[in-house]
C-alpha cells in the first residue's frame, strides 16, 4: 500500500524535471530539463495572480464557513428540541448533496431569465434584479462559487462544533451567569477554550479543501468561460498541465501547490499523529 501512495509522488517529482508533452506521452518518456519547468512557472505572471486570487478566495470562504458555521452551532444549542432535530436533518440533507448536483441547482436558481434568485431579490425590494447576470465579472463569478462552497461546507462545521459545544461543562456556564458575566464573556472565557481544538482542526481542513477547489468553480463558471482572470490554483494547474498537455509544467505547478498545502496541513497532521500514538 505504501507503493500505491508513494509512487504517484515519485512520478510527480520526476515529471516536473522533464519536458513531457503529448509526443513524450506517446513515447512514454520525457527529456530531462532540470528546473526549467519551475523557472517558467515562477516567471509566469498568471501564476502569481492566480496565487493571490486563490489566497483571497480561500480566506473569504474559510472565514465565512467558520463564522456562520459556529453561529449555527450556537443557535442549535439555544433552540427547542424539535427545531434542533429539524435543523440538523436539514443540514445533513444539504451535506449529502453531490457537488455536481449542487452546481446544476445553482445554475438553475441564478439563471438570468427565470431564476428564482432574481425574482426573489426583486420581490423583496433588495433592488431591480430583472434579468441580472450573476456571472458578469470574475469577481461575481467567484462570489457565486463562494456561496456554493460555503453552503456545502456549513453543515459539517455546524454539526461538528455543536458536538464540541455539548462538552462545555454546564455548571461552569451557570456559575459564570450567576456571577453576572455577559454572554460574550462566557463565550470567550468558558466556551471558547473547550471548542478551540475543534475549531482549529475545522479551520485547517477548510483551508485545505477551499485552496484546492476545482469542481464547483470549473462547472459553475462553465468550462467555456474559464479564463486566466478567474483562475483558481486547481484550475490553473488543470489548464496548464492537462488541457494544454504540458505535463512537465503541470507537475511543477502541482508540486508548488502541494508544498503550500503541506505547509498549511502541518497542524492537522500533527494532531492526527498524536491520536495515532495514543493507544
Amino acid at each position: 500500500m505504501g507503493a500505491i501512495l508513494g509512487y504517484p509522488i515519485y512520478n510527480l517529482v520526476r515529471l516536473s524535471l522533464q519536458k513531457y508533452g503529448l509526443t513524450e506521452l506517446i513515447q512514454h518518456h520525457g527529456t530531462e530539463v532540470g528546473l526549467h519547468n519551475f523557472g517558467t512557472v515562477l516567471h509566469d505572471p498568471v501564476f502569481w495572480h492566480t496565487l493571490v486570487r486563490t489566497v483571497v478566495f480561500t480566506v473569504a470562504n474559510v472565514g465565512l464557513t467558520m463564522v456562520i458555521g459556529t453561529l449555527m452551532a450556537l443557535l442549535l444549542v439555544r433552540v427547542s428540541t424539535w427545531v434542533r432535530i429539524l435543523l440538523t436533518a436539514g443540514l445533513v440533507l444539504v451535506w449529502s448533496m453531490p457537488p455536481v448536483v449542487a452546481v446544476q441547482v445553482w445554475n438553475w436558481m441564478t439563471n438570468s431569465q427565470n431564476g428564482v434568485l432574481n425574482y426573489g431579490l426583486t420581490e423583496l425590494h433588495v433592488g431591480n434584479f430583472f434579468q441580472h447576470n450573476w456571472f458578469e465579472t470574475p469577481f461575481s463569478q467567484l462570489a457565486m462559487v463562494t456561496t456554493l462552497v460555503v453552503w456545502g461546507a456549513l453543515p459539517f462545521v455546524a454539526i461538528t462544533v455543536y458536538a464540541a459545544l455539548s462538552q462545555v461543562p454546564h455548571d461552569l456556564v451557570e456559575a459564570a451567569q450567576i456571577d453576572g458575566a455577559r454572554s460574550w464573556r462566557i463565550f470567550r472565557d468558558v466556551t471558547m477554550p473547550v471548542i478551540a481544538p475543534v475549531l482549529l482542526i475545522l479551520t485547517s481542513l477548510s483551508i485545505l479543501w477551499d485552496f484546492g477547489v476545482f469542481t464547483q468553480a470549473w462547472l459553475l463558471i462553465g468550462p467555456g468561460h474559464i479564463v486566466p482572470s478567474n483562475f483558481l490554483m486547481g484550475i490553473y494547474l488543470y489548464e496548464e498541465g492537462y488541457v494544454r498537455t504540458d505535463f512537465g509544467r503541470g507537475a511543477a505547478i502541482s508540486i508548488l501547490m502541494l508544498v503550500m498545502v503541506a505547509a498549511m496541513s502541518v497542524v492537522y497532521v500533527r494532531r492526527m499523529l498524536r491520536v495515532g500514538e495514543v493507544e
Binding site: M1, G2, L5, G6, P8, I9, N11, L12, L15, Y20, H28, L75, R78, V79, S80, V83, L86, L87, G90, V92, L93, V94, S96, M97, P98, P99, V100, V101, V103, V105, N107, W108, N114, V116, W151, F156, A163, A164, V198, I201, L202, L208, G212, F214, T215, L237, G241, Y242, F247, G250, A251, S254, M257, V261, A262, R271, M272, L273, R274, V275
Partner: protein, 277 residues
Amino acid sequence: MSPRTARRLGWNAVGMVVFVVMVFPVFWMISTAFKTDDQLNSVTPTWIPTHPTVRHFRDALARPYFWTDVKNSLIVVLVTVVVAMALAFFAAVALSKYRFTGRKLFIVLMIGIQMLPATGLIIPLYVVLARYHEVNALTGVILVYLTFALPFSVWTLRGFIIGIPKDLEEAAMVDGSTRLGAFLRILFPLVAPGLVATSVFAFITSWNEYIWARTLLNDSSKQTITVWLSYFLGTSRSTDWGALMAASTLTAIPVVVFFLLVQRRIAFGLTAGAVRG
C-alpha cells in the same frame, strides 16, 4: 410569557429561517422536477407544483447514455468499495496490532495523501495510467478511487480495531482457537459496524467524484453519472431545466440515503483527533 420563553421563541424563529434558507436549494431542485413547462417558463415562480408531473423524469431517463452511465458508476463504485474494504481491513489490522519499521512513515503518508487536493495528483496519475493504457477505461478510474478511498478507510477501521480489548482475542486463543479462528470469530463481528460505515463513505465519495472521471473517460458510453450530469447543460441556450432537475434528483438519491445512515461516524472520524485530544 416569561422572558425566558420569549427568548426561546425568538431563537426558534431564527432557527426556522436558517432551516428554510439552507434547505431551499434542495427543495427547489425537487419542486422544479415536478413542475409543468408553463410553470417553469413563467417569470413568476410556482413554489409548490400543484399539478405534479413525472414527465421530466421520463425525459431524463430517456436521454442517451443515462442508463449506461449509471451502470458505469455502479461498477466503479462497487469494485472500489469491495477492494478498498478488503485491503483496508488487513492494513488496519497490521497497523493496530503489530509494530513494524516504517509504521510512523506509513501513517504520515496516509494522512498526508488525504490532505492533498485531488487536482495536485491528476498530472502524475494521468501519465502513469496512459503508460499502461488505462485511460478511457473504468479500471483506471477504479485504481484512482482506490488511492483516495484506502487512506480514509484504513484510518477509520484502525480506530475500531484499537477499541477491541486484546484480552478478548487472547481468551479465544486460550480456549483452543487458532489465530485465524480468533481473528474471524472475535475481531470480524466487532469491526463490522466500522466496515459498514467506511464502505458507505467510500461509496459516496466515488459516486460523487467528478474531476477524475471527466479527465480519464472520454467516450460518452464510458462515463459516470456525474460526468453525464455535468454535460447536461451543454451549450444550447434553452436548457431543459425540468429534466435537469429531475436528473439531479435521481443522482442525489442514492447518496442521500446512504449518507443518512452514517453521517455521525464520518463527522467523528474526521475530527477524532480534536474531540479526544
